[in-house]
């Protein structure tokens, strides 16, 4: 078993986990409407960072690397972990890394090498004096959970003692134009699980979680106890009509676990018509319709490679404050199953939750988290 030592969320809503929690608790959303941004012909709604406000750490880092470093630096500052040790593994979760460097307007003097995500990961880990070969997890939108599962496995197998998991993605012209071509974006703030939902919003953020062997962490730390990755084996972009992979992943992490103990299932909830319906079917099949369900996309949009880490960390912080966060943008249930969508911030005494994600390539991932010690 592995336990959390420290974490961070670096987003347009704040640069620490606590600042982010307070912003969301106060019903703030980072979603704004942009026109002409990224030199795109069509307007879009997204959660974007102020690039000028990103710390520079000297001249050797791209904006993507600066974002990841800023998030890791804050998390490291909150625990005594020495990141230079050979027993510390860096794991980067990203879908597109430095991809904006392909754009002549963003290219600058950066070399082609920086486009390789493992090179960016080495640069980020190197900033902290870590010389061990980093691992990059790039499993589309499930990356942030798959990266935490990789940390569980590596620590469990003893190949490292601690793992620094950082999820990050920037929203480039590349990504937004692609989702526009897919007609997957809502031009308004997204409305997850709502009857009127019309698509997702893109979001920029980084988030970090530092894990170590459970016996090396305080007893009341959050523990990542189970993780599973399953494929729909159905279509590379369309969610499964039967929720196949998400159902199987949920089943794997909840089997034998008393789901009454779950405070919430924090789902993907991108607000595309097909995704939310697919998750509703998967939740039903996994027997989880009674458990409160929420999604954070209405505050942050879809933060891609950061999503799995950010949404896990924010859910931990909210439960530490005795709260199941509201699903912003949700009003009237618009899926075929009676999902218990959390429509307002609700008090909870729960100390366990499930996090669910799915993505292109038919991948689905779920994890079970439990807080240690006694309340």
């Amino acid at each position: 078993m592995i336990a959390k030592l420290a974490d961070n969320i670096y987003s347009p809503l704040g640069t620490t986990t606590l600042d982010n929690y307070r912003a969301v608790a106060n019903h703030r959303s980072a979603l704004r409407r942009y026109r002409g941004e990224r030199d795109l012909p069509e307007p879009f709604t997204a959660s974007l960072l102020d690039r000028d406000a990103l710390p520079r750490f000297g001249d050797g880092y791209t904006p993507f690397e600066r974002l990841a470093i800023a998030s890791v630096a804050d998390a490291l500052g909150r625990c005594g972990l020495d990141p230079t040790g050979g027993d510390v593994l860096f794991i980067l979760s990203t879908t597109k890394g430095n991809i904006e460097l392909l754009d002549p307007h963003c290219r600058g003097a950066w070399s082609d090498e920086r486009l390789a995500p493992a090179v960016a990961a080495r640069v980020i880990a190197g900033h902290f004096g870590n010389r061990r070969a980093p691992l990059v997890v790039s499993n589309a939108c499930t990356s942030g959970l798959c990266a935490q599962i990789a940390a569980m496995r590596a620590i469990g197998a003893g190949t490292c003692r601690s793992a620094i998991v950082v999820g990050a993605d920037l929203q480039s012209r590349f990504i937004i134009s692609g989702f526009q071509a897919f007609h997957a974006l809502d031009t308004e703030p997204c409305r997850p699980f709502d009857a009127s939902r019309a698509g997702l919003n893109a979001g920029e953020a980084a988030a970090t979680v530092i894990y170590t062997r459970a016996d090396l962490a305080p007893a009341d730390a959050w523990h990542a106890t189970r993780g599973a990755i399953r494929n729909d084996a159905n279509h590379i972009s369309g969610p499964s009509r039967t929720g196949e992979g998400s159902f199987r992943a949920l089943q794997a992490v909840t089997q034998g676990f008393d789901t009454v103990r779950l405070a919430v299932v924090n789902v993907h909830g991108t607000a595309t018509p097909y995704n939310d319906e697919m998750e509703a079917i998967a939740l039903d099949r996994a027997g989880l319709l009674d458990v409160p369900v929420n999604t954070l996309k209405g505050y942050y949009g879809h933060t891609m490679g950061a999503a799995g880490v950010l949404e896990t960390v924010l859910t931990m912080c909210a439960l530490d404050h005795g709260t199941v966060l509201a699903t912003r943008g949700f009003n009237t249930l618009g899926v075929s199953r009676r999902v218990n969508v959390s429509d307002s911030h609700r008090p909870t005494a729960g100390r366990a939750f499930v996090k669910l994600l799915s993505g292109f390539g038919g991948c689905n991932a779920a994890m079970l988290f439990e807080k240690g010690g006694e309340r």
Binding site: D103, C146, I236, F360, G362, C363
Partner: protein, 184 residues
């Protein structure tokens, strides 16, 4: 973990457990020739980006004789260096800053993720088990076998795996080096 079969493909040719596969062609033509030699009746192949084509034909060669169609205990765990860069460049070419020629292609965009190849393999064989894509700087067999071994140990549902290196940079610079592994 027990590795029972290995397939390698370079721009110059393909081999199964070191024995050359008798097909002609180089680069992308080699991949098409391998497709004709193996599947032949899966027109979706021609919709795939180069990375997926490489992973697809490598897997077809690997699974000949042990396909286990429609199972949930076989994982697909692939590694590479260049993510989806060859296709990313193709997509970038559809979104120039000159608006006259700005026509982002959804069919190209969908392949701008390195894990799509694991999905294509899962769809082809109806594998509902774990699929994962990891990116490393180098084709390091020690790390690869370590991570595949951890997947067996950590998830009791996984009893076999299609795993290894599938990397596509350019038509003259690609490598598939994959293996079929059993838990026992």
């Amino acid at each position: 973990m027990n590795i029972i079969k290995r397939v390698t493909i370079t721009p110059a040719g393909a081999a199964i457990d070191g024995y050359p596969v008798p097909v002609d062609g180089r680069g992308m033509e080699l991949l098409t020739a391998l497709y004709r030699h193996t599947a032949g009746d899966y027109p979706k192949f021609f919709k795939m980006d180069p990375l997926c084509r490489l992973g697809f034909v490598a897997t077809e060669l690997l699974l000949d004789g042990d396909r286990r169609n429609g199972c949930d205990d076989r994982a697909v765990i692939l590694f590479n260096r260049n993510a989806s860069i060859a296709n990313d460049r193709r997509y970038q070419a559809t979104i120039p800053h000159d608006s006259e020629h700005f026509f982002p292609s959804p069919a190209v965009f969908v392949y701008t993720l390195p894990n799509i190849v694991t999905g294509e393999i899962a769809i082809r064989n109806r594998y509902y088990g774990e699929t994962a894509c990891y990116i490393l700087e180098n084709n390091d067999q020690t790390i690869i076998e370590e991570i595949v071994g951890q997947a067996f140990d950590a998830d009791p549902a996984t009893t076999s795996a299609v795993a290894g290196w599938v990397d596509f940079n350019t038509e003259v610079d690609f490598l598939a080096d994959i293996f079929l592994a059993l838990k026992q």
